[in-house]
């Protein structure tokens, strides 16, 4: 049991990347429009995030340095500041969306308008970050998020035409343009590899005081959490492809996105899936809010983290609090939370190389890593992904403009 609980950090991190509010809906939209023809992107994303999360976890365990320390140290103050500006902006946007997402899940349960739920959700999230121990937090929300596994059960209950799903893997629908297809591919890859995942994961490793002896734990977290998150996001797309695609419907809200589960498993399933959605979005709220504190503090060298009492990390907690307040205000303007994440995903795709380049460099630096430097396998994959991320970074914003954000 203890072994199992040790991987909750990976699960919480991965769910914040793969099945947070933006991805929950994006996966369903992609499934209903493109069938399974974008599944390969998710697989590419899973492998990519595993490669870099493994490196950052290993660096955190060996040298106790989290990712944004590395960004500043290797890229220098200027490029570091550019990355900080971009990441912080994306973090706060995503945070706003996640608060909205958790509130939407509560609206589904209670029928009360989600805007009424936004302030309490934000307040509770802040209280959790203010007082709850990191380990407790990661266990509670990591485990509760596992309720989303109900999608796998639902898919099996729906009894889809497996042959049809398999053919979709290699055949994109004819009525969608190539730019739109590529735009969604980038959005999915950006969602899978969002920078805040590695900020949170490596800082979480430091919070849990990983040392060289915890390298196995670090790896287990990576190789359980991220693939699980990825499989869930594929399942959501498959459910949508099964239910919505034949009738040419496109789910555009959280309420519609959970319908396949209701169809497959009835009310009980619906209850479980809403719990899962709430846990995943609330977990992502914590992940993005803490990440904004982590990245800013680590750039400037401030004391950060929940491993000291709040009064001993004042600048960090002020940053987290301010981010939550700004994000809450943003979502209370009735801006659509799902639209917000769509944009922030694409912006984050543009900022990816600046985050992953220093991770790759330092994972190769024996001054940091001793004999734990990257092997050939990690380096070949890492270099391949750097090239891929560069292409993605260059293409992301032009594609967004050209396709009017995938419409």
């Amino acid at each position: 049991m203890k072994r199992f609980l040790a991987v909750t950090l990976g699960i919480l991190t991965a769910f914040g990347g793969f099945v947070d509010i933006g991805d929950l809906v994006a996966n369903a939209v992609v499934g209903s429009r493109f069938g399974m023809s974008l599944a390969w992107v998710v697989v590419v994303g899973i492998i990519g995030i595993c490669v870099f999360a493994e490196m950052s976890g290993r660096i955190a365990a060996v040298s106790q340095r989290p990712v944004f320390d590395l960004v500043r140290e290797r890229m220098g103050p200027r490029a570091g500041l550019v990355n900080l500006g971009a990441s912080f902006f994306i973090n706060v946007l995503t945070l706003a969306a996640e608060i909205g997402g958790a509130a939407l899940a509560l609206e589904l349960v209670t029928g009360l308008n989600y805007l009424l739920w936004v302030p309490p959700v934000a307040l509770v999230a802040w209280l959790v970050m203010w007082r709850v121990k990191f380990e407790t937090m990661e266990r509670v929300f990591g485990l509760a998020g596992l309720a989303l596994v109900v999608f796998i059960v639902a898919l099996w209950q729906l009894g889809p035409d497996w042959g049809e799903l398999t053919t979709q893997l290699v055949r994109p629908p004819q009525d969608e343009g190539v730019p739109t297809y590529l735009y969604y591919a980038i959005a999915l890859l950006g969602g899978a590899m969002t920078p805040y995942e590695v900020f949170f994961f490596s800082s979480g490793g430091v919070e849990e005081r990983w040392t060289r002896r915890d390298l196995v734990t670090a790896r287990a977290n990576v190789f359980v959490g991220f693939p699980l998150g990825g499989v869930l996001s594929l399942t959501i797309a498959a459910c949508a492809a099964t239910v919505f695609m034949p009738v040419a419907a496109e789910p555009d809200s959280l309420g519609q996105m959970v319908l396949p589960v209701a169809q497959g498993l009835g009310k009980v399933g619906l209850g479980v899936v809403i719990l899962g959605v709430f846990a995943a979005t609330f977990g992502a709220t914590l992940e993005t809010a803490l990440s904004s504190g982590y990245s800013l503090s680590q750039y400037f060298g401030w004391q950060w983290g929940k491993y000291v009492v709040p009064g001993r990390a004042a600048r960090f907690h002020v940053t987290v609090l301010a981010s939550v307040i700004v994000a809450t205000a943003l979502i209370l303007t009735t801006i659509d939370p799902i639209k917000v994440t769509e944009y922030s995903l694409v912006f984050s795709a543009a900022a990816l190389p600046l985050t992953y380049l220093p991770v790759l460099m330092i994972a190769n630096d024996p001054d940091y890593m001793g004999e734990k430097v990257n092997g050939r396998f990690s380096n070949v994959l890492g270099s391949f992904y750097m090239v891929l991320l560069l292409v993605v970074a260059v293409a992301a914003i032009p594609l967004m403009i050209a396709t009017k954000a995938g419409q």
Binding site: G76, P77, R78, W302, V308, P310, V318, V373
Partner: protein, 268 residues
């Protein structure tokens, strides 16, 4: 002293690293810049941190905003950055560890007192774990004078040596400074350990920013694709000993010997 003196590349091994307080592992600040005592053989005297150290290195509008904002809140005539004597440094690794009971920077103390400390549940505010802060007022004042002193116009900053144009003896452009090589054989600091002396400059033929550590031996060019790319962007990299430098001013570095006579970094 039988073992050879330690060699560091300032930008690679020191600048922008985290500073950690030895006694309780508290994260204090970053090595935003290094203060050097100028002279024939300049050496590093202190770690500088805070907006007044980082701002000038950033340059441009963000740097200007950072320094000017900090100045608004300072009472000194010529405020200087947060300063930690090199003699307090106990370890230089993935972080720089310093001995003693260094205080936090002013912003942290102010926020602790006025914001975070007022929210219920912030327990353990201020320097509770610090045994020497019993009689707080007097030592704090003394510390403040020492830590956040006046700017020292006579001192040199290492950050200023980076990215400068290098010219040969007859004025022809030779390249750009990319790093400063430091050797720990300078004068004794506070009778504890030797200072890091500036032993020479690493000069890249082409202006291409940082070397990311790829100036080190070919065994460390990994991943190889990245290493090759960075090396290519910089062109040839050579090393000028301090004696081979004729003059240093705010704008450029003048070499006393032509580029061809400089050592290649491969022999370092």
């Amino acid at each position: 002293m039988t073992e050879p003196a330690r060699v560091l590349h300032a930008r690679l091994h020191l600048l922008d690293r985290q500073v950690v307080r030895e006694s309780d592992d508290r994260l204090l600040c970053k090595v935003d810049d290094l203060e050097m005592r100028p002279g024939d053989r300049p050496y590093v005297t202190a770690i500088l941190s805070g907006p007044l150290a980082l701002g000038p290195r950033l340059g441009g509008l963000p740097g200007w905003l950072m320094t000017e904002t900090d100045r608004l809140f300072r009472r000194e005539e010529r405020p200087g950055p947060y300063r930690i004597e090199m003699s307090l440094v106990t370890e230089i690794g993935s972080a720089v560890r310093v001995a003693g009971h260094r205080q936090d920077l002013a912003l942290e103390r102010w926020l602790t007192r006025n914001v975070v400390g007022r929210i219920p549940g912030a327990a353990g505010t201020e320097e509770q774990g610090d045994p020497e802060s019993g009689a707080r007022d007097a030592p704090e004042k003394a510390l403040r004078v020492r830590e956040r002193g006046e700017d020292r116009p006579d001192a040199m900053r290492l950050g200023g040596l980076l990215g400068r144009t290098v010219r040969g003896p007859s004025g022809e452009a030779a390249g750009d400074t990319v790093d400063v090589r430091l050797v720990q054989d300078g004068p004794l600091l506070a009778g504890v350990h030797h200072a890091f002396r500036a032993a020479g400059l690493l000069i890249a033929r082409r202006r291409a920013g940082r070397l990311f550590g790829y100036e080190r031996g070919p065994g460390l060019w990994r991943p190889s694709l990245l290493g090759a790319l960075v090396r290519r962007m910089h062109g040839e990299i050579r090393y000028a000993e301090w004696d081979q430098i004729e003059s240093l001013d705010d704008e450029e570095v003048r070499l006393g010997v032509p580029w061809e006579r400089l050592r290649s970094t491969a022999d370092l």
